[in-house]
Symmetry: C2
Subunit: 159 residues, 2 copies
């Protein structure tokens, strides 16, 4: 089962290592991880998606709280949330198929962010279902490269 | 100076830890890091933005190559590339200011992905300059929360 943790940390060198180290020493598998600064440049926020049941997550949360530089850990799996990822696809695109690829991009509300004689780069955002769907739609043309950001999560509404 | 590394790794538990460990032991500062699977589910790609000059990056690259699970390391700093990040902003949004916030979202080609009585979540993608600009535009309304994916990078064109 996948659980989503939002972790606020002091923006210090080595903090990512300590957090990742905690997971790997205990053989928890990190499915996806992001780090980005918040509106306070001293504070970063990690979104960690980890495989495990509630008991394991409880242990992990306790361990995380013990690390210096960790400010707050929230398990937001069961909160109603916006879960989104960005993906860049580089797709083979000779002149003859460009129109068709542009249609797919439009259907998925995606953007073409690079263009060359033989390829295009398409930027798309969404949940896993949408990203899988566009990947399948683009596959027949030939995906040269695919880069994903990993999922970020934000709890809906304002408490 | 910031350098951008694209690192392909075997998708194994612990690989993130080994990579992050390498940077922290040597006191290189990771500015931003992403991990996401590629079109081959056995292979993940990391985009790492690190502070350092060319000599330091050369050392890091050599060290990375020594790690098991690391398939390929490319310094793509000087390649023409698409560098983009996704950010979610949760902004205070009482009825009276909603119109104005929606205008800002439109100007920055952003999307409103959640709505409640008192707040909205805005999804936006772009380079650092654009993201800073929209952050400044939204600040006066009150940013409740901001989550960033970190930057992903893809070399333009097809070699």
């Amino acid at each position: 089962m996948k659980r989503t943790l939002a972790v606020l940390v002091q923006n210090q060198p080595g903090v990512l290592n300590r957090v990742a180290g905690l997971f790997s020493r205990r053989v928890y598998n990190i499915h996806s991880l992001n780090v980005g600064v918040t509106d306070d440049p001293e504070v970063s926020r990690m979104t960690i998606i980890v495989d495990g049941d509630e008991q394991i997550i409880e242990q992990v949360t306790k361990q995380l709280h013990k690390l210096i530089d960790v400010i707050k850990v929230s398990d937001i799996t069961d909160d109603p949330s916006v879960d989104r990822e960005m993906v860049l696809f580089k797709v083979k695109a000779e002149a003859a198929v460009r129109g068709e690829i542009m249609q797919i991009a439009e259907i998925f509300r995606s953007r073409i962010v690079d263009f060359s004689k033989k390829s295009m780069i398409i930027e798309t955002t969404g949940d896993q279902g949408k990203l899988n769907a566009i990947e399948n739609a683009l596959k027949p043309f030939g995906i040269i490269e695919m880069v994903r950001t990993g999922v970020i999560s934000m709890v809906r509404g304002s408490k």
